[in-house]
């Protein structure tokens, strides 16, 4: 048991409290006992003194009576009255012995000693205690007193010899001897001593000097002493009893505390061990605490928790390795399987490969038909792939990306394509699904799962880019891919780091050569790769879904700049490019309107350029969005016109204001008989016929400029006039032209 365990602490606390309590009691008992002892001993001593006096009085009375009886004896009286002095002397001795007297003295009526029992030592002299004698005579009776006789403490009794009138007096002396002192001891717990036999000072005794009243003025002190050892005995016994009782109580309490602590700490330990098992991930063994109290409930709760955790952990494990939507293995599990597959291939010398598959236009499907539909589609795709590769691993890596692990490369792509060939019918809507497949395999393309996955991904992008449907990884493509990946990472932070900057390129009226528009073009001042043009990172942004952020940033900045120039007296229409994906952002029109009114800029000062291909991706939807934008008063232009195979019928329905001829037709516009010339001319004519303003971009030479002028093109844009310029330089450029 650790020293700081609950049980130990509970024990220590209990024992400490008890010991303190017991110690307090014992000290209190001891102090009280000591005081009581001192008081008792003092009282005993003063009582002892009174007892001693009383004993002497009693003794005196008894001695008086004895002496009276003695002198009342007829023979004694007869002897005293009638016989010779020697006989009387022996009578005194004889009768004195009867009463145990130490000395008997016969005194005549004058107070003169006639004779005595020791023998006749005092004859003829005055009785040594005349006061006593006078007392006795005057009272015609007796007297008793304490005196010093022969240097010893004595009690003397004087009684008359009656015949029947007093004829003489007899004084009987009794020494206050050991027996008398012993009597004191018998009636009290004291030791009494007199005279030279005083015991030496002893710390075990409390003493008291008691002076006896004497008749002869001598000083007789009785030393009374009380043995503290004896006096302490009952207290000591009581203290011992209390101590034993305390020890028993303490012991019992400790035992009870131990038992109690054990009843608490044992299940606690069981619970702690159970919790430890849960912590280690062992969920099988339940916690057993067979009790009905809180600890029992706690154990039950622990067990419920244990099974709940086990279930949840299973679920989490599944979720961690499987895709929630389709129930297919996820990227983690796929990488795991791929690693295993590569390992197996390494052993067997066979192939381990994977297909990376991305559903084309899935975002459009999702956005158009709804997420639920998209989800159902993904589930169905997963199901078909799983059917196609029974026993193989089909995983959903995320979004619309699937991966297939194969060990037999034979016609993998064909099987996948075949699986997707049948239209998907979800609800009543039949839908054709195309996918881009990237294939990479061990040992040809990579040695490890991570690299293999990445290279399959690269191949898939190639396929998508080439619109080839399938691509096998080509060595060397990796570099590009890595740069792309890092750019994707960087792009996320470009806005936050303020690495984007707007450049402006003027659109000039071909006839008046006035600057009418300025197209806002975004540059990325990349910390490593330097200034990057939009065509280098905009496709990346489109792929990673970041284009929306960039578009919004550009629009915000462009509007602000336009408003600033307007305030500065430069009234231009600002042109901004919208990505195909931007069209699907339902909130964008509202956002733009808000920004315009915030900047107090008329809506027609903003020209939105949308590529023909973007519009053609979903013409109906694009038409709807464009109408909305138009209704809000903005100007619209079709960018890169001539590359998107748009039909005239489509074009007619679009609410656009401008056509922008793709620069590929303009760049090499020299000879009047070339294809480009024909296309440009017909486009201009077409646009004018439809009532649209036609603009040519990519004008880099005076030659193309003059041809455009000749063909009646409305506006031109290109390096011939000006490269895209930062806002400040653009402003200067415009000023210089005005001059």
């Amino acid at each position: 048991m650790p020293a700081r365990s609950f049980q130990a602490r509970l024990l220590y606390l209990l024992v400490a409290v008890l010991v303190a309590l017991e110690a307090g009691t014992l000290i209190a008992v001891y102090v009280a006992g000591r005081r009581a002892l001192e008081r008792t001993v003092r009282e005993e001593l003063s009582t002892g003194a009174r007892v001693f006096d009383h004993l002497l009085q009693m003794r005196a009375r008894a001695l008086s009576e004895q002496s009276r009886v003695l002198v009342g004896d007829y023979a004694f009286r007869e002897a005293v009255a009638t016989t010779d002095i020697d006989t009387v002397t022996s009578t005194l001795q004889n009768h004195g012995e009867r009463v145990d007297a130490n000395v008997v003295v016969l005194i005549d009526l004058d107070g003169t000693v006639l004779t005595d029992s020791i023998p006749k030592r005092m004859s003829g002299r005055q009785f040594p205690f005349p006061a006593m004698f006078r007392n006795a005579v005057e009272r015609s009776g007796s007297d008793a007193a304490t005196v010093t006789f022969n240097g010893r403490p004595y009690q003397f009794v004087i009684v008359p010899v009656l015949a029947p009138r007093p004829i003489a007096y007899v004084a009987v002396g009794f020494e206050i001897d050991r027996r008398v002192l012993a009597d004191v001891g018998r009636v009290s717990a004291l030791e009494a001593s007199i005279g030279p036999r005083t015991p030496p000072a002893d710390p075990d005794f409390t003493t008291f000097r008691h002076t006896l009243p004497t008749a002869d003025g001598s000083k007789i002190e009785v030393l009374l002493r009380r043995s503290l050892v004896d006096a302490r005995k009952p207290f000591a016994a009581m203290q011992l009893q209390i101590f034993i009782l305390s020890a028993i109580v303490l012991g019992t309490a400790v035992l009870a505390a131990v038992l109690f602590a054990r009843t608490v700490s044992h299940p606690l330990r069981v619970l702690a061990e159970g919790a430890g098992r849960i912590e280690r991930g062992e969920y099988v063994e339940p916690i057993v605490v067979k009790r009905e109290d809180e600890l029992g409930h706690l154990a039950t709760a622990f067990n419920s928790m244990q099974s709940a955790i086990a279930a949840r952990e299973d679920q989490i494990m599944f979720q961690a390795t499987h895709d929630a939507l389709t129930g297919l293995p996820n990227r983690t599990l796929f990488l795991d399987r791929l690693t295993q597959g590569i390992a197996a291939a390494k052993r067997t010398g066979r192939v381990a490969g994977m297909v990376m598959m991305d559903v084309d236009r899935f975002k459009e499907i999702n956005d158009t038909l709804g997420h639920h539909f998209g989800d159902q589609l993904l589930i169905e795709i997963g199901r078909r792939l799983t059917q196609t590769f029974p026993g193989g691993t089909v995983a959903r890596l995320g979004g619309d990306e699937f991966a297939i692990l194969f060990s037999d490369a034979k016609d993998v792509a064909g099987r996948v394509t075949a699986a997707l060939n049948e239209p998907f019918v979800l609800g009543d809507v039949p839908i054709d699904v195309n996918a881009s497949l990237g294939i990479a395999s061990y040992p040809e393309h990579a040695d490890d799962a991570g690299t293999l996955l990445r290279r399959a991904d690269v191949a898939m992008y190639d396929a998508k880019k080439n619109q080839s449907g399938v691509a096998v990884y080509e060595p060397g493509r990796d570099e590009h891919s890595v740069r792309r990946l890092s750019l994707m990472m960087d792009l996320r932070q470009a806005i936050a780091r303020d690495e984007l900057e707007l450049y402006f390129q003027p659109k000039v009226d071909v006839r008046t050569e006035a600057v009418l528009h300025a197209e806002a073009l975004v540059r990325w001042n990349h910390a490593v790769h330097g200034v990057m043009r939009p065509d280098e990172f905009i496709p990346l942004a489109e792929q990673t879904g970041r284009i929306g952020l960039i578009t919004k940033w550009v629009i915000r900045k462009a509007i602000a700049q336009c408003a600033a120039w307007r305030a500065d007296g430069l009234d231009l229409t600002i042109a901004v490019n919208l990505s195909a994906l931007d069209l699907f952002d339902a909130e964008l029109p509202t956002l733009i309107s808000g920004l315009l009114s915030e900047a107090n800029l008329p809506a027609d000062r903003l020209l939105l350029e949308i590529t023909e291909s973007a519009i053609m991706k979903d013409a109906a939807y694009a038409q709807k969005v464009l109408r909305d934008l138009k209704r809000r008063g903005m100007c619209l232009a079709i960018d890169d016109f001539g590359t998107g195979y748009s039909s005239l019928a489509h074009l007619k329905r679009l609410p656009v204001d401008e056509l922008k001829i793709d620069k590929s037709f303009v760049l090499h516009l020299r000879e009047r008989a070339s294809d480009d010339y024909v296309i440009v001319r017909s486009t201009i004519e077409l646009g004018h016929n439809m009532g649209l303003v036609v603009i040519a971009e990519g004008v880099e030479t005076a030659e193309s400029w003059s041809i455009l002028k000749e063909l009646g093109c409305d506006m031109a844009q290109g390096y011939f006039m000006s490269a895209p310029l930062p806002a400040g330089k653009f402003r200067e450029w415009v000023r210089s032209r005005l001059r």
């Binding site: 007829y74 009286r77 007869e78 009638t82 009526l109 009656l162 015949a163 029947p164 009138r165 004829i167």
Partner: protein
Amino acid sequence: MVRFLLLLVLAPSLFAATITVRVRDARGRAVSDAVVYAEPEGRQLPLARRTAVMDQRNRQFKPGVLAVQVGTAVSFPNNDDVQHHVYSFSKAKKFQLPLYKGTPVNPEIFDQAGVVALGCNIHDQMSAFIVVVDTPYFAKTENGAATLDDLDAGRYTVKVWHADLGAEPRTVALKSGDSLSLTFDLGRANARP
């Protein structure tokens, strides 16, 4: 009556002298139960064969003081229903009558002058004196007065005895027919008999 007859017989005694004695204590109060007696000088008077009684009644001697002439036989009748043990340690008459009831057969003869202190050995409170005088002239005071009469002419020593008090004797000379008055003022006496 007997006395009267004697007086008639002894006619010359009509001319005898009388002594009236008054006895007072130190404060002048009359003292009773004092024995007054006159001893003639130089003459021996005949023993009077007389008897006297020291009665014991109610555990007391009666009388407390009894004066007798030397030679008097005193009987000690016990009129109590308990026994008495009458004794005397006095030199004038040492005797004891061990436990008895009724009247002892033989009375005690007091043939020596002196004071005899009587006690009872079993009743300490019983006390009496028999004052034995060597003269026929004695009397006990009542209310402080006693009279000695029929004294012949001559010289006498008049003495007073009292249990607790005493006085110096006096000598008087009497002529026939004298009537003398004496007053004794008693002081503390030597109590020893």
